[in-house]
Amino acid sequence: MNTTEFLSLVKSRGATIYPAAAKRDTELANNALQSRRCAMLPSVFLDLYNFASAINIGNGYIFGPINVDRGINAPIPSIVDININLISTPEIRGKTIFGRNDLFWFAFDAFGTFYMLDNLSLRVLRKYDDPYRAMTDCLIAGKF
């Protein structure tokens, strides 16, 4: 699967795909993650952000490099904001949270492994070699 096929798949399942992020925003987000000792964005995400600044199905979210403003009650935080708030959480050290739904959080590490995490403890529930599979699970599990 590639980014276009992934976006096509999740769109067919009802995803809202927010407009592409500016390259500069992606670079700034990557630098911010690096300076906070989070895992840097893998190439899959650098490519994804060329097409989408965030993705949402129901309560499933893939975070983007900037906040997405959807009105007063519904902003989607950026991947940087999400991870800044977790700096003091030892369970997430070396990983970057990239998505969530009402049951699970999703992360990647610097070695290109993707994870499904328990949203009560951040314990690893599942590992993925295929990033698109991880992102699809994150979004589809949030579908109502």
Partner: protein, 169 residues
């Protein structure tokens, strides 16, 4: 580090929910039925259809449109930025029952409740958010508190404002 009740209340206030009731729980792992995910989805649908008694919270505090409200109570769609959470998580013995669910805004509240619980990982006693109503809206966002005649007062106030603005008084 184990949180005292005061420390837990302070932390949840720091996360923007100073009116959130907390319940202590000694987490003991429970077996979860293999078909839990399917049943969870069915339960969330059933939960939304019970929200006809929460019109004040949905229409006034959350400002849902009529279409969003109808879609929600018909079990067709959950409006943007709303989450359904377990009061007691399944892995700690929570039941797959409507009474074990509540609804709140995903960002920031549901996400911050996750953070609040994650920060307590490994403790003997976990403080869990347990709002009194089916929908949690902080009072500073226009949430309607327990007891009294706050709802009646609010509706009367809104009705007066509308009447005034239309020159009906």
């Amino acid at each position: 580090m184990q949180l005292s009740q005061d420390a837990a209340e302070q932390r949840i206030a720091d996360l923007g929910m100073d009116d959130m009731p907390l319940e202590p729980l000694r987490p003991t792992p429970h077996q979860i039925a293999p078909d839990w995910f399917k049943r969870y989805h069915e339960l969330v649908h059933a939960f939304t259809t019970t929200l006809t008694d929460s019109i004040q919270e949905l229409a006034i505090s959350l400002n849902l449109s009529q279409q969003d409200f109808i879609d929600l109570i018909m079990g067709r769609r959950i409006p943007t930025n709303l989450s359904v959470r377990f009061r007691v998580p399944l892995v700690w013995g929570g039941k797959l029952e409507i009474d074990n669910l509540f609804m709140c805004l995903t960002f920031p509240y549901s996400h911050n409740m996750d953070r609040f619980i994650i920060e307590q990982a490994g403790n003997d006693v976990i403080w869990l958010p347990n709002p009194s109503k089916k929908i949690y809206i902080p009072t500073h966002l226009g949430g309607i508190g327990d007891g009294g005649n706050a709802t009646q007062d609010r509706l009367s106030e809104i009705a007066t404002q509308i009447a005034t603005s239309r020159g009906m008084e």
